[in-house]
């Protein structure tokens, strides 16, 4: 169950408390996120929406351990990540987070197979074990027949599928998707969303997704809006109730 009021269970997979992020631009301090709370359970699928500059990507970067908050804490599967050193955080990301980016961000000089294999190179798996995992991930996304293709030989939708395969190949604790359909046509976007839904439904993956597209956001179990640095549940937004209780 997803909660933004700070009252979630202690067993939540992702537990965010009092999360703030400030940036300095010139001499001015800009508050992007203001003491957010969030609880996400295993198998949840959360969509984050909000206007440009509302802090969606900043929140995703903080949850993925790519950035550090100004205040507050983030706990994932019992690990408090906000005080980890840079190198610990790198190891933690390799083990727990699968990233799916809007622009796919595949390595153009590597084949689909080699791109998907990258996260496994950081593990102790043998070559044959890696091959098994990569083949499974590529079959989940329906690209078993495109293993030796380079990104330039794939369509946008297929590239995003390879990105998804790369994100799931190491069986991370959760997936972070930053505008996963932002660069795709509607048909390809539908296919990608169907795939993400399948990962949640069939493989019990936990997914946190940022999107601008209300149609895409509607596919998530819960959609949260970021408004002036605060998280608001979509259903409550219409009632003018701000979640988290801090204003």
């Amino acid at each position: 169950m997803i909660r933004v009021d700070g009252q979630g269970s202690a067993n939540s997979l992702i537990r965010v408390r009092g999360l703030s992020k400030n940036y300095r631009r010139g001499g001015e301090e800009i508050q992007v996120l203001q003491r957010l709370n969030l609880d996400v359970d295993k198998g949840d699928f959360v969509g984050f929406m909000g206007p440009s500059g509302s802090g969606k990507t900043t929140l995703l970067n903080l949850l993925g351990g790519l950035d550090v908050p100004t205040h507050g804490s983030i706990t994932v599967a019992g690990d408090e990540i906000t005080h980890m050193s840079g190198s610990k955080l790198t190891q933690w990301r390799a083990r727990h987070v699968g990233f799916i980016f809007q622009m796919y961000n595949l390595i153009p000089v590597l084949t689909a197979y080699q791109n998907v294999e990258l996260p496994l190179l950081l593990t102790k798996l043998s070559k044959s074990e890696r091959r098994k995992h990569v083949e499974t991930a590529l079959s989940v996304v329906g690209l078993s027949d495109r293993m030796s293709h380079y990104p330039r030989q794939l369509s946008g939708g297929q590239e995003q599928r390879v990105t998804i395969a790369r994100a799931i190949v190491s069986d991370p604790t959760f997936l972070l998707c930053d505008e996963p359909t932002g660069d795709l046509d509607r048909k390809s976007a539908d296919e990608i969303m169907a795939l993400i839904e399948e990962l949640v439904a069939k493989h019990a993956k936990t997914v946190l997704m940022v999107t601008h597209d209300p149609v895409v956001a509607a596919r998530a179990h819960t959609t949260l809006h970021l408004e002036k640095g605060l998280l608001v549940e979509a259903s409550k937004l219409e009632q003018g109730v701000v979640a988290g209780g801090i204003r």
Binding site: T90, Q91, N105, L122
Partner: protein, 383 residues
């Protein structure tokens, strides 16, 4: 190495750029190798100089002579084993361009002082008996197609009016070591003494002594110079290596010249490779950011950039050294007589390769550290 395929794929990402960078590396390495080989040739005399040999020259300079009677006096100094004397002959064989070093030698003592040269006994005995005799180094004999028994005309204008000296090639000498000098040409002092103007008669250009022990060098040198102090022909005695170094310096400060050009080569290579690596890293900043996002450590990112720049340097270095290795014998043949033999030794090859890899490492450091320190969120924002 788990990232081998990624490093190699990145290396061959822009083939034209790779070829051009490797090519510029190879050309710079050829230049570097040529310079190093020439430097080594100039210094070989110093390297092979006998530790137990001293050279006496006129204090005024090498072009001034000394009485030949010094030989017996010097031989009497305790610690001196053998004494011989030379003169620079400086003749021309057929044409000016056919230069090779010619020395007037004292046959009785020459090989005792220079045991690193060998001449077959029968040839040497013929030379000693033949006042118009001459001995040529194997390399010079091969260069001009001379055989024992040939008559060699050498034109000389250093000692009186221009005159052609007809000499009999009695033998051919060989060096006992691979890097020994086989380009010299020796003729008899008696022949020389009878045919030069009166002012040159009974003189020696310089003396070479072989000592009982190298430990005696300082004492003997001091004793000789003290003996002839305030005489008409004051002497300057030094070790053979110091003499050779002074001789090499007559051509100018070769070491400074080579170091200067070498530094320019090094700096240019740094700029070329550094620029290539900087462009290469900037082009794939988002890819590096993704690698870091999925958990590749900072050190591994640095390693990947360094490995790439070092591979470029290695391939360029190997290509340059191979080309130099193929070209140097031809160059050496063209320069025979003007320069000692040009030899690309294994040590020089190893040093060249080390130099190349060092340049690769240095040029990859700045872009590599930049990639290592890059913040993932900033890099992803640029996409």
């Amino acid at each position: 190495m788990k990232f081998r395929s990624l490093i190699l794929a990145n290396l061959f990402r822009k083939k034209i750029r790779l070829i051009l960078t490797i090519g510029s590396f190879a050309i710079a390495l050829i230049l570097f190798t040529f310079l190093a080989v020439v430097y080594s040739a100039f210094n070989r005399g110093i390297e092979v100089a006998g530790a137990d040999r001293l050279v006496i020259e006129n204090r005024v300079g090498l072009m001034q002579t000394m009485p030949v009677s010094y030989a017996d006096q010097v031989r009497a100094i305790p610690g001196v084993k053998y004494v011989t004397h030379d003169h620079w002959f400086g003749g021309v064989y057929q044409e000016e361009k056919n230069f090779f070093p010619q020395f007037v030698i004292d046959p009785e003592n020459h090989l005792k002082v220079y045991p690193e040269f060998s001449v077959p006994d029968d040839e040497w005995n013929n030379f000693v008996k033949d006042q118009q005799g001459a001995i040529a180094g194997a390399k010079t004999a091969k260069r001009f197609g001379w055989k024992v028994g040939d008559r060699i005309p050498i034109k000389n204008s250093l000692y009186g009016p221009t005159k052609t000296w007809e000499l009999n090639l009695d033998g051919i000498y060989h060096a006992k070591t691979a890097d020994g000098d086989e380009s010299q040409f020796w003729l008899q002092w008696k022949n020389f003494d009878e045919n030069v103007p009166a002012a040159i008669k009974s003189t020696a250009g310089w003396y070479i002594l072989r000592l009982d022990s190298p430990d005696d060098a300082v004492r003997v040198a001091k004793a000789i110079d003290a003996k002839y102090a305030n005489s008409s022909w004051e002497t300057k005695t030094e070790t053979e290596s110091a003499f050779q170094a002074g001789f090499a310096k007559q051509f100018g400060n070769i070491e400074f010249l080579i170091l200067s050009i070498g530094s320019v080569v090094f700096f240019t290579l740094l700029l070329v490779t550094g620029n290539t690596m900087a462009i290469s890293v900037r082009e794939r900043i988002s890819e590096l950011a993704v690698l870091k996002a999925i958990g590749v450590r900072d050190g591994s990112v640095l390693f990947m950039v360094l490995a790439e720049s070092m591979l470029i340097a290695f391939f360029g270095g190997v290509l340059g050294l191979l080309l130099a290795w193929a070209a140097i014998p031809a160059m050496s043949a063209k320069l025979t007589g003007f320069l000692p033999p040009l030899i690309l030794s294994k040590a020089l090859l190893s040093f060249g390769l080390l130099f190349a890899v060092l340049v690769g490492l240095t040029s990859g450091l700045i872009p590599g550290i930049g990639a290592m320190r890059m913040r993932v969120v900033n890099a992803l924002r640029r996409v």
